[in-house]
């Protein structure tokens, strides 16, 4: 049983719990744990389906770990992704290096970007109140960015 983290949208007063995948992704789990508490604005992804993501500022590089063979994710997955500067076209995302955490809130989702599929480290799963989190994430399609808080429990 992995350590748990709390995933909250403070302004929405919605939160859930996620379990770190410590057996499958020990390095990523520890690296993320070390960053907590973490508060950032999350955006709804525009390429991948049912995902909201937040940038890690400053960028953190975590090694490739626990990546799906078919670059797929499931509802509730928490993932980490790093891209080098100029890997894909475009501004603002393409020009700078970036690292991000994604929250997958529903099915029919595959992490994607302008250059194609993304190989993400899957480091946790939302185990409590994914439904509440999903309702907030859906609203972000219309409402825009919302603050998200990740904390140790």
């Amino acid at each position: 049983m992995g350590r748990k983290i709390k995933v909250s949208f403070p302004e929405e007063r919605v939160s859930g719990l996620a379990e770190l995948a410590e057996e499958d992704a020990p390095k990523t789990s520890q690296a993320i744990w070390n960053l907590l508490p973490l508060k950032a604005n999350a955006l709804h992804d525009i390429w991948s389906g049912h995902v909201v993501f937040l940038f890690l500022e400053p960028t953190r590089i975590i090694e490739y770990e626990n990546v799906s063979r078919i670059l797929d994710v499931c509802p509730g997955d928490l993932y980490y992704y790093y891209r080098a500067p100029h890997f894909f076209r475009g501004a603002p995302y393409g020009k700078v290096e970036a690292s991000e955490i994604g929250i997958v809130y529903d099915r029919d989702t595959q992490p994607w970007g302008p250059r194609g599929a993304k190989g993400v480290n899957i480091f946790g799963t939302v185990t409590e109140n994914l439904e509440g989190i999903a309702r907030v994430c859906e609203r972000m399609i219309w409402d825009g960015a919302k603050a998200v808080l990740l904390e140790r429990t």
Binding site: I70, D72, D108
Partner: protein, 145 residues
């Protein structure tokens, strides 16, 4: 109340609930052909999927389609053999038993009709799929529950 089907693979049994609201035509199509039983194989291109061929006369229309399957999905679709033989794709029925599965052909993902979700026995039927990968496959039977 949704209709239910029973899936038997080897010694394992599972139950699935039909997605009558999301895929009414496909659910009726499957319901009306039950019970069915046939030779089962493990996919060689789609990951954690076990499938059974259906009669070529089965008429399938796109409904409630996805290319992102998750564990517990029960689907029906046209499967093209790799490499494409002279024959046209044939309809198959299959279930996804673990993560990292995507129904694919030589050309990439294949949209499937998602018509049911396994509600009981997914672990058991998945364990049987794992065992059969090594030892060989037996028939699968799908019936009204």
């Amino acid at each position: 109340m949704s209709r239910k089907i029973a899936i038997t693979l080897g010694k394992a049994k599972a139950k699935a609930e039909l997605l009558d609201e999301d895929a009414p035509k496909t659910c009726d199509l499957v319901w009306n052909m039950l019970p069915i039983e046939g030779k089962t194989g493990h996919t060689i291109e789609s990951g954690k999927e076990v499938f059974m061929n259906l009669d070529r006369k089965v008429k399938l229309v796109p409904e409630n389609q996805t290319i992102h399957e998750i564990p517990g999905d029960v689907v029906i679709y046209f499967k093209q053999t790799i490499p494409p033989p002279a024959a046209s794709p044939r309809p198959v029925i299959s279930f996804i038993y673990e993560r990292d599965a995507q129904v694919r052909s030589l050309h990439g993902p294949v949209p499937v009709n998602l018509f049911a979700r396994i509600t009981d026995g997914l672990k058991e039927i998945g364990d049987e799929a794992v065992r059969m990968r090594r030892e060989g496959y037996q028939n699968m039977r799908i019936s009204r529950a």
